[in-house]
Assembly symmetry: C2
Homo-oligomer: 558 residues x 2
């Protein structure tokens, strides 16, 4: 059992040169664009050149409803990838990039944990290869061009009260949530209200993560709705003529980033859209490229399976023509006990009764994933305090759903601790029993899509949508957006919209407060609760204690 | 004579792998941090490891007063570097990085031109190695932490009307010049007026370019004055505890960027502070490292010699302990004719009378530079339409000042066209006749420093400074800032503060409208005219026609 912290383990790791990691995937040195000695982008020559190859098998890692106890989804993704390699499979992983800003609020998110990590951790939590900065720049350019258009005569007749394109910055800065811009007189434009979101909430991020290639990227950027006229007709980014320059700013960011696990297995870390107002998965281009380069590709989705897996299936897989061969639902005894009502401070004690109650959360996630026609394996991400009886309870509960639940010790043991999980996942994926289908057809009306997710996944009794929202959806259908999937923005802590309702609540209703059209990304967002798109810093931000020590190492970030 | 555009020449160039360029400087591959195959950062092991070596000779390239005709300062810097290498000297160049935002307004700035360029030009005008993004992030973090401090109780008693630290973005966005932030109620903070500057105007940029090393960087960041209390006592970034995290964000950006000229000679391209409210030179760490790695280091300063060279001498050299061995004043026949009153459309015609008048501008710049005790060489950057008689007139005018004026054809011919200039520069530098001294001593009172520059460099009759400004300067002297140099913010188009007064105006007075204290960078800014720190986009921004063509090349950026 390791006594070291994640960052100590990460720093002690002997990384291999990134060209060696690329060579494992058959990528020539000239097709990697290095960023330092341990990170590289994969060139367009690779992403476009491998298109005719056969696909490997896609494994999605998702989880029970998140709790403060932690479920270890990324850690399991990394451990499973290493485990697959250890049992002789050619496997790689695909995960999301971290957002810079939040690291200065709370201590930063590592990429995995313990002996199941992706490195270099420091860089990945700071500027990495600059992708998010590029997204901020592209978003900012469009923002500036909109106000510039208004300033120089407003030929497009933008209603300055109806500019829906806000600004972004990759920093937790609550002072920018709501501002009045263009103050100071004639030379600064027409004063209007607007505000900033954090970069990961930008539609540009969602677009980058769904685009097939650079020309698809440009087309989607052009389709962004930036404002409306007084007659409510939309104005697109292409009307502002911003999509070409935005594509130029994003051309490097569109290339997947290659790094390595602690066990020197390849990992793509690329893109990181919000998991509420967007779909919360790494980029399509990374996943599709990985499937051409490896026999097994392990990827993850944000939050619990009700949000992350649902969007992975209904948005990412549908749009990209992907079909997962198996899904791993990560559970921990701790998280299930919290879902069963145990307080965080009492988690170290065995509590089979609460665990039994909490298992209902796992059961519902299993059923939901199975409803997409994909085989499920439960990974019990092992913690030190888990008792044998607790583990056995979860296993027998899963067996009751016809699903194997495999204990995995990758956090403590790395890939060796995930070999059993790897065998179970290979068995499920190779059985080729999947008959993947999204939950609803493209042609279903938008309000029915929302109801379908709410009733079949969240198990709500009803969906509350007032006439304004229903009419808005009908207008979008009339305008040709009826075929889009829906992107649900809901609390990740409960199947319901009440974060305190852990476990497997029933009898709830889902209020849809607002709908938004992400016409470039290609989905309709249904907002069911308070959604924060610009976090603030806490009373004592982590930034106050972050710094370089005498050795030049970063302190306080992790 | 080349018929190709700058970008065509740059793209046709056969670049050498950056590790080969590093090897020319004796830098081992593991001490270079590659960004792609043609850019690299130089590790701290190099910048700190070479400190005990002997310095090479420092050559500053400056120019006559800029006109729309162009003087070709960067082009001459690059050509001279290549020329020195061609005549058997071990030489490298140090220039500034380009700002991203302005490229989307007007067509972008190349790094040099013709056959005297630094490559890769595309990258250098886009994200390059991410330095400016890092500066934006560090600046933004401090901004967020200030408002966060106020939000959580304002223990430091910041007067919210006296927050002097604004926000920055690397985009021309006039709508952000003046805003009201923290609107929307209790959870978003206390509404107050603020605004955004463009990133190159950030004091963080000036600090990065003056810092000796990471610990000096952190100390300077901590010294930034962010706000005042009601009693007007200052609040520093270190009071907000931001300097450590800002340093972490900047640690990679502090490493000089290595690229190459078209002739495969090494070039550092690092940092790019505004040349009006800041000092307008590339980083001290790049220049000092280059002096340890090469026998001759050619660098440049912003604008004409009255601003750029003056600040180079009085701010950068003074602070960093540098001593230039020679200064090249770049002149073109065209620019001197415009300084002599010729309109831009009439520049193709020979006009010896106007040229004679315009030479007074050159003469004054020569005298000014000589007053720092450094030998001067004039480079006549040759244009196609220059007549022999015109060139001879400039040469004989320069001889009248005891200075050689050498025709240089690097734009058309690369380093081969700059060999004569290179020989002249070596002769001047190797004569070791320089007796460099800044224009004024540290202990001179601040208002006298301003007057000294205005009278001795601008040749003004008087300086107008009202009592408020004089008192402000006295307060800063009392607070211990009296030893700082002054950083003059004035139009670059004239020795006077009236941009239409070309040539060598006399009898003018310099009004100091405002003074600002950049306590972290370490200078007092004297603003003499309208200074714009956030540009806007033009009616038809270049961004509208920027895009990727079918081959994946960028169109419209250059």
């Amino acid at each position: 059992m390791s006594q070291k912290s994640d960052i100590e383990i990460a720093r002690a790791a002997a990384k291999k040169p990134i060209f060696e990691i690329g060579a494992k995937l058959g990528i020539a040195a000239q097709d990697l664009i290095p960023y330092g000695h341990d990170k590289a982008k994969v060139s367009q020559a690779v992403t476009q050149g491998v298109k005719d190859r056969q696909d490997g098998k896609l494994i999605l890692v998702t989880a029970v409803s998140p709790t403060p106890a932690g479920e270890g989804k990324t850690t399991t993704t990394v451990g499973l990838g290493d485990g697959l390699n250890r049992i002789g499979k050619q496997a790689m992983i695909c995960i999301r990039e971290a957002s810079l800003g939040p690291n200065f609020g709370m201590k930063g998110g590592a990429a995995g944990g313990g002996h199941a990590q992706v490195v270099p951790m420091d860089d990945m939590n700071l500027h990495f290869t600059g992708d998010f900065h590029a997204i901020t720049s592209a978003h900012s350019l469009l923002s500036a061009m909109i106000d510039n258009h208004i300033y120089w005569g407003n030929v497009l007749e933008i209603d300055t009260r109806r500019v829906v394109w806000r600004r972004v910055v990759d920093m937790n800065d609550r002072a920018l949530r709501q501002i009045t811009a263009s103050l100071g007189g004639v030379s600064n434009g027409f004063p209007r209200e607007t505000g900033f979101d954090i970069t990961v909430a930008s539609e540009v991020m969602a677009i980058l993560c769904l685009a097939r290639d650079l020309s698809d990227l440009e087309e989607r950027l052009g389709n962004i709705i930036v404002a409306y006229r007084r007659d409510k007709t939309p104005i697109f980014a292409r009307d502002i003529k911003a999509q070409g320059a935005m594509t130029v700013l994003l051309k490097d960011a569109m290339q997947p980033n290659l790094v390595q696990t602690l066990e020197h297995n390849p990992a793509f870390v690329h893109g990181g859209p919000f998991a509420n107002i967007a779909h919360g998965c790494n980029s399509v281009i990374a996943t599709k490229t990985a499937l051409k380069l490896a026999d097994y590709v392990v990827t993850e989705a944000g939050f619990g399976a009700d949000l992350g897996a649902e969007k992975f299936m209904n948005i990412k897989c549908r749009k990209a023509g992907l079909s997962p061969s198996a899904v791993v639902v990560v559970a921990t005894v701790r998280a299930l006990k919290m879902n069963g009502g145990v307080a965080k401070d009492d988690l170290e004690q065995e509590n089979l009764a609460a665990l039994q109650v909490g298992c209902a959360n796992l059961g519902r996630h299993i059923e939901n994933v199975q409803s997409f026609g994909v085989p499920v394996v439960v990974a019990i991400n092992h913690f030190v305090a888990d008792t044998d009886a607790e583990v056995e309870l979860v296993q027998s509960y899963a067996q009751g759903h016809g699903v194997a639940a495999v204990v995995s010790r990758h956090w403590a043991e790395g890939g060796a601790g995930a070999e059993d999980l790897a065998h179970a996942v290979v068995a499920a994926a190779d059985a080729e029993s999947d008959q993947f289908a999204p939950l609803y057809p493209n042609e279903m009306p938008l309000h029915e899509k929302i109801e379908t997710v709410a009733k079949r996944i969240y198990r709500a009794d009803e969906v509350q949508m007032d006439a304004t929202i229903r009419n808005q959806l009908k207008e979008w259908e009339a305008a040709g957006y009826g075929e889009l999937p829906v992107c649900m923005a809901k609390t990740q802590y409960s199947f319901s919209t009440d974060p305190s309702q852990r476990g497997a609540p029933t009898g709830h209703s889902v209020p849809v407060r607002e709908v938004r059209l992400s016409a470039g990304a290609g989905f309709v967002v249904a907002i069911c609760g308070e959604i924060m798109t610009m976090p603030g810093l806490p009373r004592v931000p982590a930034a106050e204690t972050i710094g370089l020590n005498d050795k030049g190492d970063i302190e306080g970030l992790f």
